[in-house]
C-alpha cells in the first residue's frame, strides 16, 4: 500500500471540513443541543426514569448515534460525489492508486469527522445531563464501527447519486426515520408488542441499543446481536463498494 495517496485524500477531505467548519461542526452541535432542550427538558420532565436512567441521560447515546449516522453518510457521500460533479474525479481515476487506498482516504476522513463530532456532542451533553460511561472501550468500538460503516454507506451513495437530490434522498428518507424509529428516544419496552416486533427489523435499533449498553449497561437487544448486525452491515457495504469498483459502476464508462 502506498500511503502518500491515502494521506493526500485524507488531508484534502479534512481541509474541506476545516473550510466548512460552521456547517461541519457547529451546526450539528446546535441541533443536538436543541434536541436536549426539546426532548430532555420539555418531554423528559414528563417521563420518569427508564431502567434507572434519567430520560435526559437515556437519550444521549441515541442522539449521538443519530448525528453519527447522518453525518457519516453525508460526509462520505459528498466527499466522493463532489469530484464526480466537478469532473475532477478524472485525477483520482487516472492516479496509480488502488481502490482500497481510495476508500481508506475518503471513508477514513468522513469517519474521523463523524467520530470527532460524536465526541463533541458527548461533551456537549455533559453540560445538560450527568453522564456515565460504563464500558468506555465498547463505547469507542461502537462509535468507530458505526462511523466507518455508515461512511462506507455514504461512499456508496456518493457514487450512486447522479444529482444533489439523490445525495439527500437516503439520509432524509431512510437514515433519519430509521434512527427516530430505532429507539433513539425511547426503550422499545415502551411500545405495544406488535411495534416491538416490527422495530426488531430496524437495523438502527441494534446500533442504538449496543451503544446505549456501553453507557448504562441497559439494552433492548443483546450485545452480540448489536455487534453482529453492525459487522454484517459493514461487510455488505464493503462488498457493494468492491463491486462498484470492479464494474466501474457510475465511475468509469
Amino acid at each position: 500500500m502506498n500511503l502518500f495517496p491515502v494521506r493526500a485524500i485524507y488531508a484534502a477531505e479534512m481541509a474541506r471540513t476545516r473550510r466548512t467548519l460552521l456547517q461541519s461542526i457547529v451546526s450539528p452541535v446546535i441541533s443536538t443541543s436543541l434536541y436536549f432542550v426539546v426532548f430532555g427538558a420539555a418531554i423528559g420532565s414528563r417521563i420518569s426514569e427508564i431502567e434507572g436512567v434519567s430520560y435526559g441521560a437515556f437519550i444521549v447515546p441515541g442522539l449521538i448515534m443519530l448525528m453519527l449516522l447522518t453525518q457519516s453518510v453525508s460526509n462520505a457521500s459528498f466527499g466522493i460525489f463532489f469530484p464526480k460533479f466537478s469532473g475532477s474525479i478524472y485525477e483520482l481515476l487516472s492516479a496509480p492508486i488502488s481502490h482500497v487506498e481510495i476508500v481508506i482516504g475518503y471513508v477514513g476522513a468522513a469517519a474521523t469527522k463523524s467520530i470527532v463530532l460524536g465526541l463533541i456532542i458527548l461533551a456537549t451533553a455533559g453540560f445538560f445531563v450527568p453522564l456515565e460511561i460504563a464500558h468506555p472501550l465498547w463505547m469507542l468500538t461502537f462509535l468507530v464501527l458505526t462511523a466507518v460503516t455508515f461512511s462506507l454507506l455514504g461512499f456508496i451513495i456518493g457514487i450512486w447519486a447522479d444529482g444533489f437530490d439523490k445525495l439527500q434522498l437516503v439520509p432524509l428518507l431512510v437514515i433519519t426515520p430509521l434512527t427516530f424509529l430505532g429507539g433513539s428516544f425511547y426503550s422499545i419496552d415502551m411500545l405495544p408488542p406488535i411495534w416491538q416486533t416490527l422495530t426488531l427489523f430496524n437495523p438502527v435499533l441494534y446500533l442504538v441499543s449496543g451503544f446505549r449498553w456501553s453507557f448504562y449497561g441497559i439494552s433492548d437487544v443483546s450485545l452480540m446481536a448489536s455487534v453482529t448486525m453492525i459487522l454484517v452491515f459493514l461487510a455488505l457495504c464493503l462488498a457493494v463498494i468492491a463491486w462498484m469498483f470492479r464494474t466501474g459502476y457510475r465511475l468509469k464508462p
Partner: protein
Amino acid sequence: MDPSSLNDLHQASRLNDPDASRSVAEPVISISGLDKVYAGGFHALKAVDLSIRRGEIFALLGPNGAGKTTLISVVCGLVNPSGGEVRVDGFDNVRDYRQARALIGLVPQELTNEAFETVWNTVSFSRGLFGKSPDPAHIERVLKSLALWDKRNNRLITLSGGMKRRVLIAKALSHEPRILFLDEPTAGVDVELRRDMWDVVRQLRDSGVTIILTTHYIEEAEEMADRIGVINGGQIVLVEEKAALMRKLGSKQLTLHLHAPLAEVPVALADYDLQLAADGSELIYTYDGTRDGDEGSSITALLGDLDAAGIAFKDLHTRQSSLEDIFVDLVKERT
C-alpha cells in the same frame, strides 16, 4: 513564463527519470486492437493500433466524436476498454496500472478543478495522489515555470480560464510524468497564452517528456507536432511524420490575376487542367508540390504557353495546402 524555472524543472525531470537510458526508438505507448463499445452501443474505438515514440510530440486529430478523448481516457484509465491492450513503457495499463499510470500526466479538456482550493494545495494534492512524497521545491519550480507562483495562495475560483488551464497543467506535471496527455490544451485560451503553452510543451519535449495532444486547432498540430495521427469514426485513418505528410499530401496552387477576364480556358492550355475563378478574371493552376524541381519547369512552361496564347496577367500568388486542408480532405475521403 519563466524559462529559467522551466529549465530547472527539466533538469530535475531528467535526474528523476529511471528510464532515461532506454532506446528512443522503443515505443513508449503501444496500443493494439483497442476496442471500446459504450453501454448505449456506441462503438467509439474500433481495433485501434497505435505506437507512440519516446520523446515525440504526437498530435491526434479528428472531428468531434471521432474517438480522440475516448482513446486518451482508455490509456489513462478513465474508461474501461472493451478489448485490446495498452502498454505504457512495457507495463499493461490494466494489470500493472500502478507502474503505467505513475508515468502519465493528464491535462483534461474541461476546466475541472476543486473551486475552493488554493493553487498550491491542489497542485501538491496531485503529487501526493500520484504516490510521490511531498517536494515543495518541485512544486515551486512547476508553478514558476507556468507563471503561477504569484497566484499560489489564490483560490481556483478566483482565477481566469487561462490560469485555470495552467493549473491543470501544473497538476499534471506535479508528479514528474514521463508522458503527458494534453486533451485540447489551448481550447478557449487567448493567442498569447496559446503561444506560451506551445513553448512550455516544446521545452517539456526537449527534456524527454513524450507529449500526446489532441486538438481542434490544426495550426497547433502543424506548429508543434513531430508526428500526426488522424482518427475518424473510431479508427486510426493515418499516422505520419508531419513533414512527410505535408510533402505527401500537400499540393500547391498558383493563382494568376488576369488583365482581361476569360470566358473559358483556351484549348491550348487544356493540358494544365486550369480552373477559372472570380468571373473569369483568375486562373488557378494546381500542381504537385512534393516533387522538388518539377513545379518550376511546369510553371515556366505554363507561363510561356500563356504568353503564346496572348493572355496577360497583372499579379500572381502561390499557396501551399495547410494541414487543415489535408485533414479536411482525409476525413471527407473516409466518410
